[in-house]
Structures are given as structure tokens and as C-alpha cells.
Symmetry: C2
Subunit: 429 residues, 2 copies
């Protein structure tokens, strides 16, 4: 853990290093991924079968290519009642929050007599990547699938690796609850290729979202433009801004809730009390010792954890904007006034009773959020990622007389005479 | 030009080939671009100077690295009055249309007592790529710059190559009118690298938009995630749906207004009258002969032009949705009913008096639109490309008691005990 004090002479430099350190995979998998995508494009299902045998160790013809709806429903019905109710509450709250994101169409006629507007439509089909193993989270499936369904996507396809053929029943239950239409037992870059190009078995989709390892992320990046994708995701991160009135173990628990995700995750505390900073550091050690995920959380905290004490919280927004963190928790007396000054953040958690983890599951807003300072320019996942806008324009003869000559002048100045001609041939008619 | 009739036995197959043919550059510039970006990242301005000398044939230290505001203003003041008024009308109408796109913030408390919301902010800085030579269009500068300024972007940077040091005065005039803050005389992949990474002279930006050649497009793709970018753009295209009541030369002019952009552009006509199809084909030849851009337009029309006659316009929406064209013109008696069935299109132009070219300049909606079937999943440029959304969540003790236990159950099921702990440590307190 890195301990910084804003009043130290070397602070600006040390903080700049925290900001510029992206903690992202340096492995260059571009060439490997390009070869895999080429293979899927050329050989389709045969490539998927070969690559699944190689990477996941099972034969799709034997284990089955997909998981049918009845199996997903059975997984849901078999859930322990408390867990089932929790999943239902999460789904319901996510649905309600995202339903309010549906954009409105526009249609109006302006003073020049020009009718203008825009119509939003859902994409026809979306593909969701669901990782296998440690990161196979039903909550993540809900956070990707429900916005797609709320947007009106008719065909929602999950691809997920099932190492040695084993499926995750929680993921299948969530797929049932979210209304997923197809579940394919393929993962890795080849699964993303199948979604983008289509194979004999898997029809192509228009948008691919969902988290994945470096190969999956690179496949999405290479296929950007063939399909739409969500933002490239890096390691998770939290910035907690907390005063000394918070019980130290609560803040310690918040910091560790990010640290336990992965050794590359990052937790940062900003506080206005140096003694409190030390108290939280101590509480982190106590909390760590009691965690089943201690090994991961300890590595993350030791390597990437940061505690910064500042003279006044007035300094915090500038630091927060530079970090542009995925999650920002503000546990102070007046969290609102700090939030108003934070322009760059994925999601903000206000007050002492809003641990970030409620946002991961049941609050309602999406937990797929920009990481690695991408909150400077990108947003969390929303229904808009599964929709697109078509603008429209309608002129009558009078409107064309009013604004057409200006377009003719500009087209001629740009050296595009056919543009000018398509307008002038309709003027004075 | 390819002449198809929907009633011919081979139609489905021939049409599928039109749909799948992307007409995009097959040149693989990925490795070249990666090397250029590495060079800019490592050597900054020195790399920019070397690459500008190599590709644009001038010495930046002699010609000047940037164009100052006074020079842009002088270019604007020197405009011929009709052209200046046309540019001002365009800017004013683009501004009005995009101002209405500004999204609304949300802030509400739901039945469980959970406060939820979302706040939109502009990115701090945006970079606009403006091509040199044939494709240096002032209209394109307005269409990129004005949405950024309407969004509230404080620093708006143009990069543009000036081959042999020559600048385009129309582009400078448009930069002045749109309120561009900096104009740098660099182009190519290296200019995009400079915007993303920053150099000593050019501070980094958060979003890069604007059209460019294959190198520029590949640089944007490789930097996606370091900065935000607009959609990958391919050759321009128009689908015209027209009945026999339209004067053939008008429809011919509309088809050629796309064809004159580039030999790879595509113009497609769908009509319900085979004799009218022939009349338009004849009119295209007459119009071509009178065009200063005849060479480009003829090559585009000969190689990529398509005329399809259908038995009824009832067939048109399915064809239009499969093509998902950038521009769709509907010149029929009841364009509205066809538009309602077209889900995938960049922009729709309704009626006999709405040639697509009015949308390129003065109608108001953005002319930066998805090409190459990307209207299936992406939208034209808008203020949203220069903004991002931060969600927020606030719970009090009662709200946490209400929804917290469900989050604890899910966190435990996902094997994330620190997530559960950050909530449970606040329950029953």
C-alpha cells in the first residue's frame, strides 16, 4: 500500500504516477486473436469445436453446443429461496432504473418549415460474453442482459466457456430470469468471432458486450465496426473519500470489496485526517485476516492500494477528476457538495450508508462502468448501447427555397457539383 | 451499374451479394500505424516533425506548427458574402438541432427509499481530424465541432495536414465560426497519436472524431480505449426509393451526389416501375456528362451503382433494412408509411423535395452517419459523443436494511465475501 500525504513536497509527482499507471495487461495478444478470428470466419463451427477442445478441454458434439431454455429454467427453479428472491429483486430494480433511460423520439417542424426528427430503434440481436471460472457472475449477466431486453432487443445470445463441460447453474438461472434467448457453450476470442461473423449454428449479432480476459477484449477491439461493442474494460477500482466519523472497519471493508476482485484491482482512500488514515490501514489488516479471498485482496492492496491524506476535502475533487475512477464513494457530512465538483467518475456512492457493493447487485444503475480513467470520455452500460438513432428530414418546396440556395453555395465551394445540382434542379420549379 | 429485378429467380442471391460487399479498403496498415503511434508516443513533437516532412513535404518549424486564431478569423472575414452567409446559416441550424439533443440529468428517490440518478458532463477536450486535399470540407468541420461545443467541451482541437504547407482557407473560416480553440498543421496517423497521447506542444484530448484515410481510421481504432472515438467510417452510400412520379433527372442527380464523393461510394435506386428504372439510368448518363466530377462519379456508378425494380414498394423496407444504408431517400406519395418500417438507416430524407444534399449542409441533423451497414448498431454523430454520464446512488440506514440483505446473499453466492462484508457491517447498526 502506498501512503501519500498531500502536504509532502513530492506529492504531485507521486500522485501523477498513480494516475498514469494503468495496471493493464501488457501481453500482446493481437496476432493470436487475429489468427483465431480468421479461423472462425473461414471454418465457422469447425473452428469453434477445435478451439473449444483445445482451450476448454471438451468436445462440443458430446457435451452439447448449447444449453436449452428448459435447463436454464430448471437451474432457476432449483435456486435456494433466499437467493432466488435476491436475484429477482436485483432484476426488478435493474429493470426499473434502465426503463427510465429509454430515449424519446423527436419530430418537429422549425421556423423555416423544415421537418426534423430522430427515431430510436433497438438493434436486432445482441451477444453477451459471460466469462467462465472465477469471474462468472450472475449479477454481471443481469447487468448486461436486462438493458438489452429493456431496449427491445429481440434476440439475446449468451456465449460462455464451460471448462471441461461444466456449466455454472447460477449463470443459467440468471439467463432464465433475464429472458436470454440462446446460450452457447463457447468462450474466448473465437466465441466473440462467432457472434460477429456468424456460423452455421450461431447467427450473427449486431452488438457484443460483456467482460472477458485479454483475448476476449482484444477480439472485441478487432471486431469494433463489424459489430458494436461496449467500452474496453480494465481492472476494477474504487476511490473512497471518507472523514474520521466513519467507523474505520467499514471503510476498510469498502476498500477490500474492490481488492478481492483481482490482484490488479485498485483501492484508494482520500481522507482529511492523517490519524484516521492510519486507523483505516490497521482496520484493513484486521479485515484481510478474516477474508476467504484474503490472498487476492492482500496482493491487490499491497501492490495497488493507496491512502492519501489531504489538508481539506476541498482538495479531493481535483484528485478525483484526475483519477476518473470507476467507483467513487463519498462518506462525508456533505457528500453532495463534493459530488457536484466531480466531473469524471463511473458511478458515485453518496453518504456513509452506501457501500459500493449495493451498486454491484441491487441498487439499479449498471455496474458495467468505465475503468482505467475512461470515465473521462465514456459512460456505464445503458439501454443506449443496444439502440441507435435514425435522423430524418423533410422539406417541401417552400422550405427548399428557403435553405436550399445556401446548400448550393456550400456544395459549389467544396467542389461537389452533383450535390449542388440535386438541389438546384428542384429550385424555382 | 448492376440492374436487378426483384422478380428474377436469382434476385435473392444477387441482392445478398450487394449487401455483403463492404467496398472497404483491404490494405492492411495495422503494423505501419502501430509503428507510427509508438514513435509519436516515444518521441512526441520530434516524431511529428519527421513524419510531416516525410508525408506532407514541409518543415513544421518553418511553416509553423499551428494556425492562430487571428489567421482563422481573417479567413472568415475574407469570405465572399454569399458563402459566408451560407456557412452562418449552416452553423446556426446545426447548433439548433444539436442543442435539443442535450440529455437531461436524473435524480429521484424510489419506493425503497433509494436515491438514484445520473449526471451528464462534457469531456474536457476533443480533437477533430480534418483531412487535407480533396476531402477537406468546411461542412464536415462544422458537423464535428458544433456538437462538441454544444455539449460544453472547453478545449476543441483541430489537426489537419497541410500538404506542402498549404492551408485550406474555407476550413480555417469554418474553424473560426465553430469556435475551435487550436488548429495544428499535422495530419495522418501521427496526428491522431498526438491527440491521444499528447506531446510537449499538443496537450492530450479525451475524444477524437472526424473522417480520414485508412491510416487515420486504423489509428483511431488502435487508440480506442485510450481515447473515445466516433464510429469507423467507410465509403459513403445512398439508397433512393422513388416512384415514377419523380422527374428522372432529379433522382439521377441524387444518385450522383453520392457517386461524386469517391469511386468506392455506392448509389442504389429501388423503384416500382421497370420503365422508370430505365429512364433514370438514361438520365444518369445525361447528368454525368455535365459534371465536373464526372470521372469519379462515373467510376462509382459503373462499379457500385445498383438499380432494383420491385413489384411493389411493400418489398422496399426489408431490402432497406438489409442494406442499413447511411442515407435513405424516400420520394413516394406516402414516404411516412415506408419510413415507419425502416429500422436500420443513418438518416432518412422524406418526400420529393428533400434531396440528401440538404442534409449534408444546412438541414441541421449531423451528416456524420454510419456507413457499411453499421446503421444496424450505431448512430450519427451527436452531442452524446462528447459527453458521458455518471450514475449516483444514495442510501440511508432504512434503505440499506431494505435492499442490503439481497446484495449480501448475491455477493456470498458469487464468492465475494468482502462485498458482502461491506454491507453487513452496516446492517443492524
Amino acid at each position: 500500500m502506498l501512503r501519500l500525504s498531500a502536504k509532502d513536497p513530492g506529492f504531485a509527482e507521486a500522485f501523477a504516477r498513480v494516475v498514469s499507471d494503468r495496471r493493464e495487461s501488457a501481453v500482446d495478444v493481437a496476432a493470436d486473436v487475429a489468427a483465431i478470428l480468421r479461423d472462425v470466419r473461414e471454418r465457422g463451427d469447425a473452428a469453434l469445436a477445435d478451439l473449444t477442445a483445445k482451450f476448454d478441454g471438451h468436445d462440443l458434439d458430446q457435451t452439447g453446443w448449447n444449453v436449452d431454455a428448459a435447463t436454464c429454467k430448471a437451474a432457476f427453479d432449483a435456486l435456494e429461496p433466499t437467493l432466488r428472491a435476491a436475484l429477482e429483486l436485483a432484476a426488478e430494480r435493474i429493470r426499473a432504473y434502465h426503463a427510465a433511460q429509454l430515449p424519446e423520439n423527436r419530430d418537429y417542424t422549425d421556423a423555416a418549415g423544415v421537418r426534423l426528427g430522430a427515431t430510436w430503434n433497438a438493434v436486432d440481436a445482441a451477444g453477451l460474453y459471460v466469462p467462465g471460472g472465477r469471474a462468472a457472475y450472475p449479477s454481471s449477466l443481469l447487468m448486461n442482459a436486462i438493458p438489452a431486453k429493456v431496449a427491445g432487443v429481440e434476440r439475446l445470445v449468451v456465449v460462455t466457456p464451460t471448462p471441461k463441460g461444466e456449466v455454472n447453474p447460477l449463470v443459467l438461472a440468471a439467463a432464465h430470469l433475464a429472458g436470454v434467448d440462446e446460450v452457447w457453450r463457447v468462450g474466448g476470442a473465437h466465441a466473440v468471432g462467432a457472434l460477429a461473423y456468424g456460423t452455421d449454428r450461431i447467427a450473427p449479432v449486431d452488438v457484443v458486450t460483456g467482460p472477458g480476459n485479454a483475448w476476449v477484449a482484444e477480439a472485441k477491439r478487432q471486431l469494433y465496426g463489424v459489430v458494436g461493442i461496449d467500452m474496453v474494460a480494465g481492472p476494477s477500482e474504487i476511490l473512497v473519500i471518507a472523514d474520521a466519523k466513519n467507523e474505520p472497519r467499514r471503510i476498510a471493508a469498502d476498500l477490500l470489496s474492490q481488492a478481492e476482485h483481482d490482484p490488479t484491482s485498485q483501492s484508494i482512500l482520500i481522507t482529511d485526517d492523517a490519524a484516521y488514515a492510519d486507523a483505516v490501514a490497521e482496520a484493513v489488516e484486521l479485515e484481510l485476516a478474516a477474508l476467504a479471498t484474503e490472498k487476492t485482496a492482500r496482493e491487490s492492496w499491497n501492490v495497488n492500494g493507496v491512502i492519501i491524506d489531504v489538508a481539506s476535502f476541498d482538495e479531493a475533487p481535483a484528485l478525483a477528476n484526475a483519477l476518473a475512477a470507476e467507483h467513487v464513494e463519498i462518506a462525508t457530512d456533505d457528500p453532495e457538495s463534493l459530488m457536484r465538483r466531480i466531473r469524471h467518475a463511473g458511478s458515485v456512492f453518496l453518504g456513509r450508508m452506501t457501500p459500493e457493493a449495493v451498486g454491484d447487485y441491487v441498487a439499479g444503475p449498471n455496474h458495467v462502468l468505465p475503468t482505467g480513467r475512461r470515465a473521462r470520455f465514456s459512460s456505464g452500460l445503458s439501454v443506449l448501447d443496444f439502440m441507435k438513432r435514425t435522423s430524418f428530414i423533410q422539406l417541401d418546396a417552400a422550405a427548399l427555397e428557403a435553405i436550399g440556395p445556401a446548400a448550393v453555395a456550400l456544395a459549389e465551394a467544396e467542389g461537389l457539383p452533383a450535390h449542388a445540382r440535386s438541389i438546384s434542379v428542384r429550385l424555382n420549379s
